[in-house]
């Protein structure tokens, strides 16, 4: 029994240390895998992914870009309030990146809440392409090129990151809130907090009880 408790406590301590020291920068993602180049931008053209629900504040936008085997062209990245088109953030990817790059562009801090359009304008002199997948990953959002949905309809592969990494432990409330979505209607983050306590305390207590009972039986 003591051996179990020693191992379980050590495990809990290691888990806490890992959780406190592991750093994460992902604020949220549209969950779109890069299947293909879904928007080819001629010089001056813009593609927007719109609207995007800003689930968590972010500072950087990551995307997947192709250059047709040439030197990468500058791309302006803008984050606009979805209804008013007021600018929420802006950044520029400098020329010179490679084909198939996954750059991270700082756009300034964009707070959580509301919907935004995230737009990419080819500010160079040669075409570039943004990668993404079919228009099924991001339910309420779609890629719009020159004012029309791309054909076929698609989503851009985008991830939104924070400039200051957070520990996994600090992310725990967000993680449990996300885990509680797409379950039963009555299931909420509260149940996951309860489960956390149950797994960390009740489960080992029950195993200790089981071990102690075998000791009693042997004696």
């Amino acid at each position: 029994m003591l051996a179990f408790l020693a191992v379980a406590l050590a495990a809990g301590a290691v888990l806490a240390i890992v959780g406190a020291t592991e750093r994460r920068t992902l604020a949220f993602t549209l969950g779109v895998p890069s299947y293909a180049a879904v928007a080819t931008l001629k010089p001056g053209q813009t593609v927007c992914q719109e609207p995007i629900a800003i689930a968590s504040g972010f500072d950087d936008v990551a995307f997947h870009v192709g250059t047709f085997a040439r030197t990468g062209q500058p791309i302006e990245v803008s984050v606009l309030q979805a209804t008013t088109r007021a600018p929420l953030g802006r950044g520029v990817l400098a020329a010179g990146y490679g084909d198939g790059a996954r750059p991270l562009v700082a756009v300034g801090h964009v707070p959580a809440g509301g919907d935004a359009d995230v737009c990419f304008r080819n500010a160079g002199t040669r075409r570039v392409a943004l990668y993404g997948g079919p228009d099924v990953a991001a339910r309420m959002s779609t890629a719009v090129l020159a004012g029309k949905p791309t054909s076929p309809a698609s989503d851009l592969d985008l991830a939104f990151r924070v400039a200051h990494p957070r520990s996994t432990l600090a992310l725990l409330p967000d993680m449990l809130q996300r885990a509680a979505l797409f379950r039963g209607g009555w299931i909420g983050p509260w149940l996951y907090w309860l489960l956390l306590v149950v797994v960390l305390l009740a489960v080992p207590a029950l195993i200790v009880r089981a071990l102690r009972s075998t000791t009693d039986a042997e004696q």
């Binding site: 997948g133 309420m140 996994t168 885990a179 979505l181 009880r209 009972s213």
Partner: protein
Amino acid sequence: MPTPLTALLGAVLLLGVAWALVVPAFQAPDEQSHFGYVQSLVAGPGLPGKPAPRPPFSSEQSAAQNAVNSDQTAANLLARPEWSIGAWHLFQRQDARLPARDRSDGGGTNPASSNPPLFYLYDAVPYAIASGGSFFARLTSMRIAAVLWLLVTVAGAWLLAGEVFGRDRLLQLVTAGFAGLMPMTVFVSAQVGPDAMLYALWSLALWLGVRIIKRGITPASAIGLLGVTGIAIVTKATSYALVPAALFALALGLWRIRRERPRAVRLGLAAIAALAVPVIAWAIVARALGHAVAAQVSGASTPGGTNWRQLLSYLWQFYLPPLPFMTDFTLSGGGIPAYHIWVEQGWAAFGWLEVRFPHPLYPIFFAITGFVALGTIARLVAVRARIDRAVAVFLGLATLVLLAGLHWTDYHQLVSGGGPFMQGRYIFPLVAIGGLAVAQTLSWLRGSARQVGAGVVLGGLFTLELFSLGLVLTRFYA
């Protein structure tokens, strides 16, 4: 019920529910196909596998899969399930407005549609009970109902160890604890799919077989063993592999009462009937409805014959590096397939096998596996005079026939160009025997050292559970 078992069952139930609630919808192998099977049974059009143009899933299920982003996320570490509360609320509103026909327009062919129906009939109950709720409420209810089979697996392992170790409570606890706390067993058992029921039925059958061998045959044990085997067959066709071991135990039990010939004949016939009734009933229903009876078994048959030399070469290369004269089977992207499949996937490969611990941990898992295997063999050699050989033959037969069936299917699927078939979870029906091996190794120890050993084993399993749940949480939600 003994207190250690009750407490263990409580712990396993809580962990099972945690797994059922942590893994995102359809982020377990083929879960969408298993769900589609149940929905087709309850909402229509009946047994799935209807020919094209019937889609594999209903409109409601397809919308749900899109809403939660499950197809994009499956096996893709860069993608995440949907995190937006807005998207969740939108889906709930849309789902509530869907007409009933959007639940019944699936039922086409999917990877699970060739399975026999028993588990799906079982999981149809929670589906039906929760049918007034949202799509995901039904999925969650079905998962939690599947967890109950994990408790049967644990109880079966406990009973099996009781027969093998003579009611040594500590060794029983370790055996059952292994079956109920191995994270992969809990992960698979907490999803919609027949595997949880399969593991449970195999654990019960192994217990009943050993009981017949150790205590002699009775009507209850004979009918129980063959009946459970029959039920296992109509749960998943993999369970045909249980038949030789079950028949061996039955034959041995009957041989021992051969002087009471009328009784032996009656018992034998009753037991065979218990096996045959569910299997034949399913065969009649399946034939009447134009459904495959045992697709996995017939799919692995070879009308063109088997190249035995090539099969042996495949077997060698599954477990050992290829020899220079052998034709190379590229089985699992390099390395030794047995390591990738039995060790890596058997210990920790969650989601669609893509959620794994850092690579350096797996050699440690391999070392633990090797230690337990060697410890068990050494112990069996040390106590060979006291070993019940019939029990060893029974358990060995169940193990070898399952492995032989899996390799037969894997080999034929590979040579027919169908790609690799084998997965680590396919040997989990033997999880109770795995628990016996761990307990057998522990039985080297005496007195307080054995108590400490048991604490370390269960503590290690609990640790693995914690880290596995953490791994899955961070993969999908961080």
